[in-house]
């Protein structure tokens, strides 16, 4: 078996294959070690970290919908310092390829976060989460504005000299292609799409919104057609690699994203109920190779 057959490249970084875990569901990575063969994956995007630790949102954080999941975790994380000291090194030790996900909060914290990241050895690829719907500042507020996307991506490229920078975008806009273009113009090495879709639920027993922050982010199989459309659209707007994420729940789904033009895919919600899925997708790719993208205009 040719080990390099399915290797891919984003910026200057090579990944052993194009099957990643999405940021968030898999935590810092090793929590899933008993359930998923992490070193076999192209990468594990770790849960987004911010400069300072974040407590995340109070109240309920999860709610199932029909074939979907609403979450309002709110970027709970240990903060970048503890992350780089405690969470990241064991991943390298375990032979897992990490992608570091960074939260864009306000400009100053963001700069400090980038500077801290730049001082780490080994961090050769980061994903900028410009799209979390579950926080007050930063997050989606950045990801909906092309100018802000440009500024945030540019600062990352400036400070993280040499590292590949992925911009993770939100679908809660009229044209995600515009945001992708802005990221590309600012030097992004790849686009990750999509983050969760804005949604909400109401508890009919209590007669109140389920979540403290009322809105939450929808993920899972329910949103797959939305994510696929986003990847198709972005692919036809930018030259840089697109990493597809959103509702992938079968090897056939993965195939669709490659056909739409994704260079790699990420699996999020599906690992909750089907931890075997990444392995199944890898086997399918091993057997048939990465499907060539469809060559059609928008």
């Amino acid at each position: 078996m040719n080990k390099k057959k399915n290797a891919i490249r984003i910026g200057a970084v090579e990944f052993r294959n194009p099957v990643f875990l999405a940021s968030g569901p898999a935590g810092y990575g090793l929590e899933y070690a008993g359930l998923i063969d992490l070193p076999s994956l192209g990468a594990v995007v770790t849960k987004t970290v911010s400069y300072s630790p974040r407590r995340g949102n109070p109240g309920r954080r999860l709610r199932e919908t029909v074939s979907g999941l609403l979450n309002s975790v709110g970027l709970e994380n240990v903060g970048a310092e503890e992350y780089f000291a405690e969470k990241l090194p064991p991943l390298y030790d375990a032979g897992v390829k990490p992608v570091v996900s960074l939260a864009a909060e306000d400009w100053e914290d963001y700069r400090k976060l980038l500077e801290l990241t730049a001082r780490q050895e080994n961090v050769d690829v980061v994903e900028l989460n410009l799209s979390c719907p579950n926080v007050e500042r930063g997050g989606m507020a950045v990801g909906v504005d092309p100018d802000l996307v440009r500024r945030y991506v540019r600062l990352a490229k400036d400070i993280l000299r040499g590292a590949a920078v992925l911009a993770k975008l939100t679908p809660n806009v009229q044209d995600i292609g515009l945001l992708a273009l802005a990221a590309e113009e600012a030097g992004a090495d790849g686009i990750t799409a999509i983050n969760t879709v804005l949604g909400m639920d109401i508890d009919t027993d209590s007669g109140k919104p389920v979540f403290h922050r009322i809105r939450a982010g929808l993920s899972g199989p329910a949103i797959m057609p939305v994510a696929l459309e986003a990847v198709w659209r972005i692919r036809r707007r930018v030259e840089i690699p697109v990493i597809g994420v959103g509702g992938i729940s079968s090897p056939l789904d993965a195939e669709k994203f490659f056909l739409a033009g994704a260079t790699a895919i990420q699996i999020g919600t599906a690992i909750f109920y089907a931890p075997g899925l990444p392995g199944e997708i890898l086997s399918a790719l091993e057997e048939r190779g990465i499907p060539a993208p469809i060559n059609l205009p928008d």
Partner: protein
């Protein structure tokens, strides 16, 4: 890296109907399934479609050389699918999960208060500790809405004393399990060394507020909606006071067992 395998395919061996809504589901213990302790749980994929989406957590009621036993109450689609699995069906099961467990009581005397299916970890604790000779006196206080819903007939022998309550008074004490425990404490019937509780949040809170302080220690196994079951997603957090701070702890990996007195009820919205 922690390479303990925790994903298995388990075959249903048989069912035992206990009440109109509850049954024991007995699985063939899958090869390689690790040892587990009381308070540990498994998460079961109940459907091969995405409805319902998430695996469902169930406490381990017993784990023997050959069997894994769950106590399942039908409350919705997921539990109904599990309860309806036929002997021979294979289900994907993750586990055993859980960070903290019920530790045997230092002085060998324990009181369990179990609301509804909270009985499962109580039975597992009793069986484990009896087998290990770790306990000499073990009380069960079990409440249900009505006589038909009392979970009896399969675990009386595991406890030295069983105290039952029904809300409608159709069997045992008339009232809830908390009120019954209050009475047992007041009457000096139960030892006050260690209280263990599992069941609905409201029950545990009432225990803490009304009788918890009478016990030397009180450990509660909590429930929360879960997605990953392994501490990754941070979806199942509860507020717990530690060193003067209130932290959000994951029921699945920091729990399921917490010092009951430390739970910050006033901050626990749901």
């Amino acid at each position: 890296m922690n390479r303990i395998k925790s994903l298995f395919r388990a075959r249903v061996l048989r069912h035992q109907v206990l009440t109109p809504s509850c049954r024991l589901v007995v699985f063939d213990r899958p090869a390689g399934f690790p040892a587990a302790s009381p308070g540990h749980f498994v998460s079961v994929r109940v459907s091969d479609s995405s409805v319902p989406l998430l695996r469902r957590p169930f406490s381990i009621l017993d784990l023997t050389a050959g069997e894994l036993i769950l106590l399942v109450k039908i409350v919705g689609r997921g539990s109904a699918l599990l309860a309806g699995a036929n002997p021979g069906d294979g289900l994907e099961i993750g586990g055993p999960f859980g960070g903290t467990v019920f530790e045997p009581p230092a002085r060998g005397k324990a009181v369990f208060v179990a609301g509804g299916t909270g009985l499962a970890p109580a039975v597992f604790a009793a069986r484990t500790w009896n087998k290990g000779g770790l306990v000499e006196e073990i009380h069960l206080v079990h409440g249900a809405s009505t006589r038909d819903e009392l979970l009896t007939g399969f675990c009386e022998k595991d406890f030295s004393h069983v105290h039952q309550a029904t809300l409608d008074g159709s069997a045992g004490f008339g009232g809830d399990a908390v009120s019954l425990l209050e009475k047992l404490v007041n009457d000096g019937v139960v030892p006050l060394d260690a209280l263990f509780s599992c069941g609905p949040r409201g029950m545990i809170r009432a225990l803490v507020e009304r009788v918890g302080s009478r016990f030397a220690e009180h450990h509660a196994s909590l429930e929360a909606v879960m997605a990953c079951g392994v501490g990754a997603c941070r979806g199942c957090t509860v507020p717990v006071r530690e060193n003067g701070e209130t932290l959000l702890r994951a029921v699945c990996s920091d729990g399921t067992v917490f010092p009951a007195g430390d739970i910050a009820w006033e901050e626990w919205e749901d």
